[in-house]
């Protein structure tokens, strides 16, 4: 890895950590509900600098972010890590395979979907071993995820356009 890439990853991870932290101050009707703004940075990194950089940014963001918030190695951290990694993984997969069919909005929807699926899966295997309860909550979480995913995708599309206009 070139040193330029390292600087890029560090700066992008710092942006992601900042968004991850600021997001906590937005009041939400349900406390576990999040916009997932950090995914904007992960997706921007994926499209501009490739999959490996995006995965680095995601992992750094979750590890350092959880240390700042104070959830490191707790249940929230484990759920956040599995969800973040699988979201980035599937976004990378879809972007390489079907990149021409989707704008960042579509890729972000995929990310949001797999983020939520991984989170439900982790909650099932680690905490609540009750499939009925998980299935009951899954459609609602996925529905909310569609809207926050589309919002993040739109933000990413605009950011990438701005960057490409004035490099």
């Amino acid at each position: 890895m070139q040193s330029q890439d390292k600087y890029r990853i560090a700066v992008l991870a710092a942006y992601a950590i900042a968004l991850h932290g600021v997001e906590r101050f937005i009041p939400m009707p349900i406390p576990w509900l999040r916009f997932g703004f950090a995914n904007i940075i992960a997706l921007t990194t994926l499209i501009l600098f490739g999959f490996k950089a995006a995965m680095f940014v995601t992992i750094i963001r979750i590890v350092i972010g959880s240390m700042i918030i104070g959830t490191f190695l707790g249940p929230a951290f484990i759920m956040s890590l599995t969800a973040g990694i699988s979201a980035t993984l599937f976004m990378g997969l879809f972007y390489t395979l079907f990149g021409r069919l989707f704008s960042p909005i579509g890729i972000s929807l995929i990310g949001a979907l797999f983020h939520n699926l991984a989170q439900l899966g982790t909650a099932y295997f680690l905490f609540i071993h009750n499939l009925n309860a998980m299935l009951m909550i899954a459609p609602l979480i996925i529905l909310i995820g569609i809207f926050s995913g589309a919002l993040n995708g739109a933000a990413t599309a605009l950011i990438i356009q701005k960057i490409r206009e004035n490099p």
Binding site: I30, P31, W32, P75, F98, L101, F102, S103, P104, I105, G106, L109, I110, L113, A123, F127, I128, H129, N130, N132, A133, L135, M136, I137, A138, P139, L140, I142, L143, I146, A150, G153, A154, A157, L158, Q161, E165
Partner: protein, 134 residues
Amino acid sequence: MIKKTNLDFLKFGLLPQIRIGDFLLFILLLILSIGGMFYVYGGETNNGNRVIIEVNNIEQFNLPIDVDKVIDLRHLLVEIKDKKVRVKDADCQNKLCVKQGWIDRGSIICLPNRVVIIIKNIKNNHAVIDAISG
């Protein structure tokens, strides 16, 4: 010379970036999740007759919903009243389960204390066994 219109901003905005794949994916996910919600929440007309309380994934209580009762689970105080269930009090920080209020179907899940409260419809197998043993 072609006169610039007010719609020119669209060329540089979000709309021209949206592809057919985005649209189809959005609609597909919307249908799947809303369909799933109808399937999960709307499917049962009968709300269920038993309240099942699981702690650490082990069934601790299996109670009839039409008998009013307050159950002390050490971390949670569960109340059954008028065919509804709620968590009356909890010792966790955010008290999500308490805020959820009364439910007459579905479930209340408390992740910190690993408690699941589900309202289920169980056929009268229990009544038969109760009759024999009682």
